[in-house]
Amino acid sequence: MLEGAKSIGAGAATIASAGAAIGIGNVFSSLIHSVARNPSLAKQSFGYAILGFALTEAIALFAPMMAFLILFVF
């Protein structure tokens, strides 16, 4: 019973990846948009995009972290 509930909980925790996927897609679509509008700023905006990607990805990693916690710690 507990095992099943754990698996369901861990699986449910990964739903959060959907949000992260949207976020990462958004970051890079904005990068492409801005570079298409102003190619001279490509280098600078790429730096910002990587920073934004890292921040978004970090939030995304909270989901597997919760899954691991549910599966292995409790």
Partner: protein
């Protein structure tokens, strides 16, 4: 069936802390553990690197490969500090630069060292990243109070806010300000831990399939193997990127504390 490597192992086993030299001072658990060992290794690595390069009073005029590496890292952080912290003269910025450089180098070397198989990732522990982020956060708050005195509290209230909204906004800003310390540490820890567990789980898959002793599985194992390879590359990127993100966020927070907003 071949049983090698099929021993059920939790992917979190790699983060286990083992006391190498058990010690107890009074009631304190003061052992020399494997994180201590690897932190010591990290420190000695970059201190040795920098020592050997600046040995003859500042290196060569024409740098060799190692010296260019150190110069690259130094320049990178220097530019970061110059760009992110505004409104100060160069000399005052220099005050913060050593701390930021050492933080960056420490995190970079810890993260990269963790990528070596069978080594230990120091930054995949809550305790270490949170200790780092909280001490830096407290330092930044002290810098803020030092520069602005009690006027630093105006940080909590953006200019031009209608008075009825003020109590809520102050509360919100206070929470978000305090949460910065937490999120700074958790971001690094979660990245390192999740990444390493993922690599471990996938390599476990590949290994299990290889051990099935059937030609179909043997070919099938190449899939997970290449994913592991790609993921290791990604992890290397993440290791560098997270050190960078940690550093740039410190700079941004420091800039907030110095210039208010």
């Amino acid at each position: 069936m071949n049983q090698i490597g099929l021993v059920a192992q939790s992917p979190l086993d790699q983060f286990e802390i083992v006391p190498l030299i058990p010690m107890n001072i009074g009631n304190f658990y003061f052992s020399f553990t494997n994180p201590s060992l690897f932190m010591l290794l990290t420190l000695s690595f970059f201190l040795l690197l920098i020592h050997f390069i600046t040995k003859k009073g500042g290196g060569n005029l024409v740098p060799n490969a190692w010296q260019s590496l150190v110069e690259l890292l130094y320049d990178f952080v220097l530019n970061l500090v110059k760009e992110q912290i505004g409104g100060l003269s160069g000399n005052v910025k220099q005050m913060f630069f050593p701390c930021i450089l050492v933080t960056f180098l420490f995190l970079l070397f810890c993260n990269l060292q963790g990528m070596i198989p069978y080594s230990f990732t120091v930054t995949s522990h809550f305790l270490i990243t949170l200790a780092l982020s909280f001490s830096i956060f407290i330092g930044i708050t002290i810098v803020g109070f030092q520069r602005h005195g009690l006027h630093f509290f105006s940080f909590l209230l953006p200019a031009g806010v209608p008075l009825p909204l003020a109590p809520f906004l102050v509360l919100l800003e206070l929470i978000s300000y305090c949460f910065r310390a937490l999120s700074l540490g958790i971001r690094l820890f979660a990245n390192m831990m999740a990444g390493h567990s993922l690599v471990k789980i996938l390599s476990g898959f590949a290994w299990t399939m290889l051990c099935m002793n059937e030609i179909f599985y043997f070919i099938g194992a190449l899939g997970p193997l290449f994913i592991v390879l790609a993921l290791t590359g990604l992890e290397l990127g993440v290791a560098i990127l997270q050190a960078y993100v940690f550093t740039i966020l410190i700079c941004i927070y420091l800039n907030d504390a110095i210039n208010l907003h």
